[in-house]
């Protein structure tokens, strides 16, 4: 039995530009999880992340004729998603609603679970990470989580943020350094 070949992103984008909504739907389905979780990095809230990631797809569809079909689809989408997310965060701050960060779930598959101390620190870790992440600038959180949570390569992050790879490395250093300091300040003692 031969496997069914799925159209690649470029083909789906080409068809979307030609007005094929089904092709666009397949692109949406292909990228929806990634989009939602990226929006979640910025907004922290499930409802906002869902709303913004969907709205970004709508805006992309409205301007789809302007897209260069030879280029990757996701950086275009990411630029829209990022702007909408940052606007949302700014508006949330203006409305003085407490910024609710993510419900993190730390998977500690490789951690040593034998000692009571380790178990205690494991259960506290998600809250500590959440607190530390909340204290660092949004752009720092973005680049750390793009790398460590989503697993993007430097090249991909450079494309998403429209910056050179060297700048990705420098910004990662700055962001991780702030995060490290933040973790130490809130009492995480293992970074020695």
């Amino acid at each position: 039995m031969t496997a069914i070949e799925l159209p690649d992103d470029k083909e789906l984008l080409r068809r979307s530009i030609a007005g094929d909504k089904d092709a666009f739907g397949r692109l949406v389905t292909r990228y929806m999880k990634r989009s939602y979780y990226v929006a979640r990095i910025f907004t922290g809230s499930h409802e906002d992340a869902l709303d913004i990631s969907q709205e970004a797809f709508v805006r992309l569809w409205r301007s789809i004729k302007k897209i260069d079909q030879e280029r990757d689809f996701f950086p275009y989408y990411y630029a829209i998603l990022r702007n909408l997310s940052l606007n949302s965060v700014r508006n949330t701050k203006k409305r003085a609603i407490p910024f609710s960060f993510m419900a993190l779930d730390t998977v500690n598959e490789h951690a040593d679970t034998n000692t009571a101390d380790t178990i205690a620190s494991q259960s506290e870790l998600p809250a500590l990470i959440e607190q530390a992440m909340r204290q660092i600038p949004l752009e720092d959180r973005e680049i750390i989580l793009l790398k460590d949570m989503h697993g993007y390569a430097y090249k991909e992050i450079a494309a998403l943020l429209s910056i050179p790879i060297g700048t990705v490395m420098s910004r990662l250093y700055t962001a991780r350094n702030r995060f490290k300091q933040s973790m130490k300040e809130i009492g995480y003692e293992h970074l020695e």
């Binding site: 929806m32 969907q54 730390t106 998977v107 460590d148 990662l172 970074l191």
Partner: protein
Amino acid sequence: MSTSNEKERARQLIMAAIDEELRDEDRKELSVYLNKYPELKQEFNEFKELQEITMQTKFNPLPEQVWDNYWLQVYNRLERGIGWILFSLGAIVLLFYGLYSMIESILVDIEIDWWVKLAIFSALAGVIILLISVVREKLFLHKSERYKDIRR
């Protein structure tokens, strides 16, 4: 290269090393810097440990139903967008037609005093001027907004 430039370069290489993006030709360079600046070795270990924590961090997974309905919700928004455009167009036409009919009926109504007619037209003219002013301001600001294309 000055010390600060060397450390800056070393820190970039440390990032590349812990992210497994270090090129073979950079390995030797990083090794030189780590031997030269022991404090960077300490940083390297701390960043490595920190990354192990953040890499294990995941968002709680959402129910599959959210993903099953995702495209449908996007599609509904697309459809509603078209609906709003058609509704707005129709509403604008009806609004202008209503205004026109109202003005026409006021003009021909001999029972309305001239000063009431004048007040109505004055109020209407005021609303139109304010509307045009707001629209022009919005358009002008959008065109001359220096930072509108800058992603923050």
